[in-house]
């Protein structure tokens, strides 16, 4: 039986604002002593009120704009009511029906992934389960409570784990380009929750649903996977789920609607909580924060501050610096490297072409925080300066190397190009001189022929 994989994603990104979402406590909580970044507001003490962080809201809108979202001119916060020890107010301030950003999209491998919404909320405290004096107890650290969190929700437009992984890498790259989040997975600054289901039967007639679903019916269940802290695990977890669900469906069953957790050391997902009904969070408009009315001007202003984004930069690098897509990709992965590269190109103008510069960049690890672009250009020029060597002498050395290392010829003829590199290295080692590697390579090839 044919089935189609349907995957949607919820991604949480912590913003790196100075202060928390609704109070003046520092939002930089990672590795800090527990409960030192707290105040009446983020501890939910009686009488405390939230004062929204404007920077965080602008950054949320910035992310939305970078993901091609519409920014409604009216928006508001809502209360999401539920009890949990890490939630000091008994509700989370979030956004329900009128988020800051709606209906965006992003392209992954030529496929359009629709973004349903991007909204703003506050992070919760952190529960720590420990044994103290031989007793199992739970501790709460409220340093994370109230840290600004942006949630990015896609439509169920993915049909494979690879695209999901690339989407996540793209989101991480974009928020880093925007400098609104470090999106460090290990620090919990980026959290992923894929929901996966398999649609067993194609519809007989095309439905009016979104393009990502094609004419496949949405399945009657959805499995959400939590607890994933790396991109490669997300890929593994999804593939595990596809396999697990396929097996259930092939036996005529229907997978249970549930939340599962990824277990790293077994490489499996396990059931955490069966969702029989959707939770009733009793959302209602947050009365402590007046709704927001933005002007077109304000949104334009935010938009004008968005820097060049990865996709645009990539295309420009290919065109402007005559680079291969592969090279351009490597250079634009990180905005810091991209900016450094462009500076170096300017400094090296007339002495070096951008292709030479790119090669150097890609082949060597450069600490962009330590080496200034001007110094780098000097280094590259120095490395390109080669010493003339008597060609007879060179020829003799090459012949000696090939004779002493018969494996070079054998390997080369087997198609192992590494063998050439080895030969070049050996020649240079004997001569102890810097030689134009291209020229040397050609000479070796001549000998091998």
């Amino acid at each position: 039986m044919k089935s189609k994989t349907i995957i949607g994603l919820e991604v949480h990104v912590e913003l790196k604002t100075k202060s928390k979402m609704f109070c003046n406590c520092s939002a930089d909580y990672f590795g800090q002593k527990p409960n030192t970044h707290t105040c009446p507001v983020c501890l939910g003490l009686p009488g405390a009120l939230p004062a929204p962080n404007e920077q965080a809201i602008e950054w949320c809108i910035t992310i939305g704009l970078a993901l091609n979202c519409d920014i409604p001119l009216f928006s508001k916060f809502d209360r999401k009511n539920y009890f949990y020890p890490d939630l000091p107010k008994g509700y989370q301030i979030s956004q329900y029906d009128q988020p800051f950003c709606l209906n965006g999209f992003i392209e992954i491998n030529g496929k359009k992934i629709r973004i349903r919404r991007v909204h703003m909320e506050e992070d919760t405290g952190k529960l720590i389960h420990e044994k103290v004096d031989g007793e199992n107890i739970s501790l709460i650290d409220f340093n994370r409570s109230g840290v600004p969190l942006v949630e990015i929700v896609t439509e169920p437009d993915f049909d494979n784990a690879k695209d999901v992984k690339e989407y996540l890498q793209k989101i991480q790259q974009i928020v880093r380009y925007l400098q609104v989040s470090d999106a460090d997975m290990e620090k919990g600054q980026m959290r992923l929750e894929p929901n996966i289901s398999l649609s067993p039967s194609p519809l007989s007639s095309p439905s009016g649903r979104g393009q990502g679903e094609g004419n496949w019916k949405l399945p009657p269940y959805k499995v959400e996977v939590k607890n994933i802290n790396s991109f490669s695990f997300v890929e593994k977890a999804i593939n595990f789920e596809i396999e697990r669900q396929t097996e259930i469906l092939s036996k005529g069953g229907v997978p249970v609607q549930e939340t599962r957790g990824w277990v790293e050391n077994t490489g499996k997902t396990v059931s955490q909580r069966v969702k029989e009904e959707a939770n009733d969070y009793r959302y209602f408009p947050e009365p402590d924060i007046p709704p927001f009315r933005f002007t077109e001007d304000k949104i334009k202003k935010i938009k004008s501050r968005i820097p060049e984004l990865p996709d645009t930069k990539l295309k420009r690098f290919i065109k402007q610096y005559l680079l291969s897509e592969y090279d351009a990709n490597l250079l634009t992965k990180d905005v810091g490297i991209a900016n450094y590269f462009e500076e170096a190109v300017i400094v090296g103008n007339g002495k070096l072409n951008s292709k030479q510069m790119a090669n150097f960049f890609i082949n060597r690890k450069i600490d962009i925080d330590k080496v200034l672009p001007a110094k780098l250009v000097e280094d590259i020029l120095a490395s390109l300066k080669t010493e003339e060597i008597d060609s007879d002498e060179l020829k003799k050395v090459i012949q000696k190397v090939l004779k002493d290392n018969p494996s070079i010829e054998i390997d080369y003829k087997k198609g192992k190009t590494n063998a050439l590199q080895f030969a070049i290295g050996q020649v240079m080692y004997i001569l102890r001189k810097k030689i134009d590697t291209q020229k040397l390579k050609n000479l070796i090839l001549e000998e091998l022929r």
Partner: protein, 470 residues
């Protein structure tokens, strides 16, 4: 006259002229509390030593010639106002031992203005109630007749001023909780415009309705007090940057030509006849002094209590969620019956499937009620009505029937739904118990309310009566 019987204005004069010191003024109040509190239950906690320190400090500042607006004035706080290092119970067993680590913005402002915080006053637990009987501790009693309720929920604060245990006090008004006890105790009570006074640090009842008010003996004192508490607060996003008036400057302005709206819905069936006559006498006074009485209608008044009792419990249910006993306070089973009732009501009306039928519909009616007032203020400058349709009742009379208790707020709750200001001013006595009118105005027009209230007050001087010599 004993200094504790004075108004803010007179007490300040006495302090300035060295007729008595701030410590002596405080002692007079403490003596009065000592004598009367066991009977009236106005205070849950008297902060003797802290107050003494503050009074001493005030005396020092006075001797240095400083003139802060409330320097040396003993002020009581409803026990919803967070006070750093001083127990703040909300009148509930849940917070019986809770000590806040911070001061509410208003408390800070009062201290900065030189006020001496004398203690924390009794209230209906969580401000849920109209009589004071919902206090989880001993209920407060009406000083004019202790068989009768003092009105709620800011019961203790009203009594403390009425019975001369302090010079002024703070309250909160979510559906009438300042105005009702003011009118039941012969004190002046203000419910300011929503957002005019910061809510930060004051234990929330229903966030979109809570207004932070106060009790004084006179209208002038009341204006003086608002001069201290009003204004934008960066900790409360619902306080607009609207300019703060000098609220005492228009007190004696001529009211000739002033249009006073009288809404027919507030004088209809259900209003006790003697109260009706009393308020009509007040209106006659205004007419004789050049004001024009305009008959108006607030057509959605009948829906106000129903609307209020959807929105308010919804917000209550969410606001009380933080009292989980994990970080502070005791467990949720310690909530009293009324709090439980509101948590259940609110949880129900916000639930999936009921939200549209209740909460959403109530919000729509709220918009209509706001519009009612907007339309009314096109025809009239202020609106005058009774504060409550009934006189103070005897203890226990309404406790078995929450709905009849809720209906005592029928004239006051619409004001909170609309977010407009209301000033309760004493209009005399009926059968030995106080009665009052409320003056309502457009948002941020507290100045006008003080003006209208003051003109009446200087001609009647009901504040000169004390419950001891009734």
């Amino acid at each position: 006259m004993k200094p504790n019987n004075l108004t803010i204005k007179k007490a300040k004069e006495g302090l300035r002229k060295k007729e008595f010191s701030a410590v002596e003024l405080l002692d007079a109040c403490l003596e009065r509390i000592e004598k009367k509190n066991s009977e009236l239950n106005a205070f849950l906690n008297v902060c003797k030593s802290e107050a003494l320190e503050q009074a001493k400090h005030a005396d020092k500042l006075i001797s240095e010639g400083q003139t802060l607006p409330l320097l040396g004035i003993p002020v009581a706080l409803k026990d919803l106002f967070s006070t750093k290092g001083i127990k703040t119970t909300a009148g509930s067993k849940v917070l019986e031992n809770y000590i806040p680590p911070y001061d509410a913005t208003v408390v800070k402002k009062l201290k900065d203005a030189g006020a001496v915080v004398i203690g924390k006053t009794n209230l209906d637990a969580w401000a849920h109630g109209s009589s004071g009987e919902n206090s989880d501790f001993e209920p407060a009693k009406n000083p004019w007749n202790t068989k009768y309720v003092p009105g709620g929920s800011s019961s203790g604060s009203a009594i403390a001023v009425s019975a001369n245990m302090c010079i002024a006090s703070t309250g909160t008004d979510t559906g009438g909780s300042v105005r009702l006890p003011a009118s039941f105790t012969n004190t002046v009570g203000l419910k300011p415009t929503y957002g005019r006074v910061s809510r930060y640090g004051i234990i929330a009842m229903a966030s979109s309705l809570d207004s932070i008010g106060h009790f004084t003996k006179t209208v002038e004192d009341n204006a003086l007090f608002l001069n201290v508490t009003a204004g934008h607060d960066e900790h409360d996003a619902t306080t607009p940057p609207e300019k703060v008036d000098d609220y005492v400057k228009d007190l004696n302005k001529d009211i000739k030509g002033l249009k006073i709206g009288v809404p027919k819905e507030y004088f209809a069936k259900g209003l006790e006849l003697k109260i009706k006559e009393n308020i009509e006498n007040a209106l006659k006074f205004y007419e004789e002094n050049g004001a024009e009485i305009v008959n108006i209608s607030l057509p959605h008044t009948n829906y106000a209590i129903a609307t209020y009792y959807i929105i308010q419990p919804a917000e209550v249910s969410s606001n009380l969620a933080r009292y989980d006993g994990i970080r502070f306070g005791s467990a949720r089973q310690n909530f009293g019956a009324e709090a439980k009732r509101r948590i259940m009501l609110g949880t129900f009306t916000l639930s999936v499937g009921y939200y549209d039928a209740y909460y959403k519909k109530a919000m729509k009616i709220r918009t209509l009620i706001i519009k009612d007032f907007e339309d009314a203020f096109k025809k009239a400058d202020v609106i005058i009505t009774p504060v409550s349709p009934s006189m103070p009742w005897k203890f226990g009379e309404k406790t078995e029937d929450p709905l009849s208790m809720y209906l005592s707020d029928v004239y006051s709750a619409p004001t909170n739904l609309a977010g407009i200001p209301g000033l309760a001013v004493p209009t005399g006595f009926i059968d030995g118990l106080p009665v009052g009118m409320q003056i309502l105005g457009p948002q941020f027009r507290e100045n006008l309310l003080f003006n209208v209230g003051n003109i009446y007050e200087i001609a009647h001087k009901w504040y000169e009566r004390s419950p001891d010599e009734k």
